[in-house]
């Protein structure tokens, strides 16, 4: 079947099987390998992307479900080579070590930056429940998101 959607601001089309997962289309079809697969069972959050502006797990979504909608991956977050403030905050605060979880952390973090009014630590931690990191111990990640929420107008 054919799917057409907006991917990182561009209109794209692809031929997929009805049981193709969105993450497979992104990685194998479009070569966007920044979206990682950690578990493939919906537990780790490494595959998080935005669907119509909300963080979702692309290993638990069919490519067909994205048809006609808008998808943002980690590759679409920086604009013209300039890091998004949240990405810059991750870098400044050493909020990553091996980097495997980082694309998913940033995509969930962006949802929180957009939807939380204040940098409340408990709310940020609750919002990161679906993202696992085996390296950093979470504190710098939470701080980077809190800083970015604090800086938004």
């Amino acid at each position: 079947m054919r799917v057409a959607f907006t991917l990182n601001g561009r209109e794209v089309e692809a031929e997929v099987e009805p049981n193709t997962l969105l993450v497979a289309l992104l990685r194998e079809g479009f070569g966007l390998t920044g979206t990682h697969v950690g578990c493939d069972t919906g537990q780790c959050g490494a595959c998080t992307v935005h669907l119509d502006g909300r963080a979702v797990k692309s290993c638990l979504i069919l490519a067909a479900q994205a048809d006609g909608r808008s998808v943002l991956t980690i590759e679409g977050v920086a604009e013209g080579g300039t890091l998004h403030p949240l990405q810059a905050a991750f870098r400044d605060r050493h909020a990553l070590q091996c980097g495997f979880c980082t694309p998913g952390m940033v995509m969930s973090g962006l949802d929180l930056v957009a939807h939380l009014d204040s940098p409340d630590e408990a709310a940020i931690r609750h919002g990161l429940d679906g993202n696992l990191c085996r390296c950093t111990g979470y504190r710098p990640i939470v701080e980077a998101i809190a800083q970015t929420i604090g800086e938004k107008g």
Binding site: E17, A55, L60, Q65
Partner: protein, 261 residues
């Protein structure tokens, strides 16, 4: 996943028509169904995507009730429910990404024994409106992953009577967010309701607790009440004894938290 066809009908009537029997499955958020398909627990010939049907969208007020579309995601309910206990319940489900995709109708139809929404519909005395009839929450859950829905019956919306006050408390499984036990207490126009999820194969009400709260809607009224262990589940997350111990604790916590100020 086994291969299947994907259909996206434009209306409830088309969706129900496309569901020509047991082999096809509705797809809402896919947060439970896709996981089941990956495990090859089901082999539907087609998935019928109902997530974007306009009749299943939106939250609106009706005289003394809140009507929530079956395809409303948990996150939207958490942000927009005018029943605070329901917003709190929806906001406690799984994680951010699951709340953004997973829907009320999908959670009810799936009938996981630890579904948060099961406590919500039973505790608030909601009605489940389908393409063909209205089912009272009390008649909806028949067993573990088993509901009163007929093959091809589609949940369209859920209608909650507005409670005078209500509150939900749960002990989360730290890995999934599912309740090990969840308790909703409510004072409604029809009386006190206490509903429990996660503790047995189906959600259930605790009439003894409800009677004790009828005169005094406060944590103190539950002093000394216990729950029999016999029918409670035991699994790797908790023993039946632990679940029995949690129920009164969570009921008191829900009352203290705002259900019974």
């Amino acid at each position: 996943m086994f291969p299947f066809d994907y259909l996206r009908p434009q209306s409830v009537a088309e969706a129900v028509c496309a569901h020509d029997g047991e082999e096809r499955r509705y797809l809402a958020g896919g947060q439970s169904l896709l996981a089941a398909l990956k495990l090859r627990l089901a082999q539907p010939s087609a998935l019928i995507d109902i997530a974007r049907l306009p009749e299943l969208a939106g939250i609106h007020a009706e005289a003394g009730r809140l009507v929530v579309g079956a395809a409303v995601p948990h996150a939207q309910l958490a942000a927009r429910s005018t029943i605070p206990a329901l917003a709190q319940l929806a906001g406690s489900i799984g994680d951010l990404q699951v709340r953004n995709m997973g829907t009320l109708g999908g959670a009810l139809a799936n009938a996981d024994p630890a579904s948060d929404h099961a406590a919500g519909v039973l505790g608030l005395g909601a009605e489940i409106r389908t393409d063909r009839r209205v089912i009272a929450a009390a008649d909806f859950f028949l067993g573990m992953f088993e509901t009163a829905l007929e093959p091809g019956e589609l949940i369209v919306s859920v209608s909650y009577p507005l409670p005078r006050r209500a509150s939900y408390a749960k002990v989360r499984n730290p890995a999934s967010g599912y309740p090990v036990v969840g308790v909703l207490v409510a004072e409604t126009d029809d009386g006190i309701r206490v509903a429990v999820t996660g503790a047995a194969s189906c959600p259930f009400r605790l009439t003894e607790f409800e009677m004790a709260l009828a005169g005094d809607f406060s944590p103190a009224a539950l002093e000394g009440l216990t729950v029999p262990v016999d029918d409670l589940s035991r699994d790797l997350h908790a023993s039946a004894e632990y679940r029995a111990a949690l129920i009164p604790v969570l009921a008191r916590r829900a009352l203290a938290q705002g259900g019974g100020e």
